[in-house]
């Protein structure tokens, strides 16, 4: 298949592949930009983390997919490290977001003053009362 592309017998396929590479890369960089706008404009730590850890992850995964397609289709070079990078980012970025959020809550960072409910606070209070009764 790759040798056919290189000989130029399927030049239409090459145009379609170009379109997909450009689409993935542009959409990914726009997702990064939107994540940054969220990080700048949202009101407290938790909402900022929500923006950063989801949108930036999806954007970078899309950019890495575009890069993989570029090197595979146009250069004929199958790079397994890019696939490993996509899988690793998909696994670790939500985990680091969760850890930072929990650390912020436990070290006493306040929620936004217009947020309506805080279930974890009531749960912590209930657990504390039960342990003091015991």
């Amino acid at each position: 298949m790759l040798s056919i592309w290189k000989r130029g017998l399927l030049s239409n396929v090459s145009v379609i592949i170009d379109f997909f590479i450009g689409f993935f890369i542009l959409v990914g960089s726009l997702f990064c930009l939107i994540a940054t706008i969220g990080v700048i404009r949202l009101p407290d730590v938790y909402t900022r983390n929500h923006a950063a850890s989801k949108a930036a992850t999806l954007g970078v995964m899309s950019i890495l997919l575009g890069t993989f397609l570029y090197f595979y289709a146009l250069e004929g070079h199958f790079n397994s490290r890019l696939i490993l990078g996509i899988v690793f980012l998909f696994m670790t970025s939500p985990i680091s977001g969760h850890l930072i959020n929990r650390a912020a809550y436990n070290s006493g960072v306040k929620l936004w003053d217009k947020s309506v409910r805080d279930d974890l606070k009531e749960y912590n209070k209930k657990v504390l009362e039960k342990s003091s009764v015991d």
């Binding site: 170009d18 960089s29 990080v39 992850t57 950019i63 890495l64 680091s96 850890l99």
Partner: protein
């Protein structure tokens, strides 16, 4: 065509990195700064991938995995420091 798209994507990533640096400098709590630094690491991965397309070489693609792993370890260490005050605990029986 694809050249212009990649340059445009590099400009977008650079602008988003500048915004994250603004959040690192201004952020009211430490957790804000750690979140912004983590996102800067993730953006650096994207910029490395785009630069390796621009330079047309696959020599830099290992750096992507390396930056991802280092950003994750740094964020986990910061989170543990914020929560417990120590990163590696010493006493074994508790």
């Amino acid at each position: 065509m694809i050249d212009i798209m990649i340059r445009l994507a590099l400009v977008f990533c650079s602008i988003s990195m500048l915004g994250l640096i603004y959040r690192v400098i201004k952020g009211p709590s430490v957790a804000d700064r750690v979140i912004a630094l983590d996102a800067i690491g993730v953006n650096l991965v994207a910029i490395t991938a785009l630069i390796s397309i621009v330079l047309n070489s696959h020599a830099f693609l290992e750096i992507i995995l390396l930056i991802g792993i280092l950003a994750f370890i740094g964020t986990v260490a910061f989170a543990k420091y914020l929560e417990k005050g120590v990163i590696i605990e010493r006493e074994r029986n508790h």
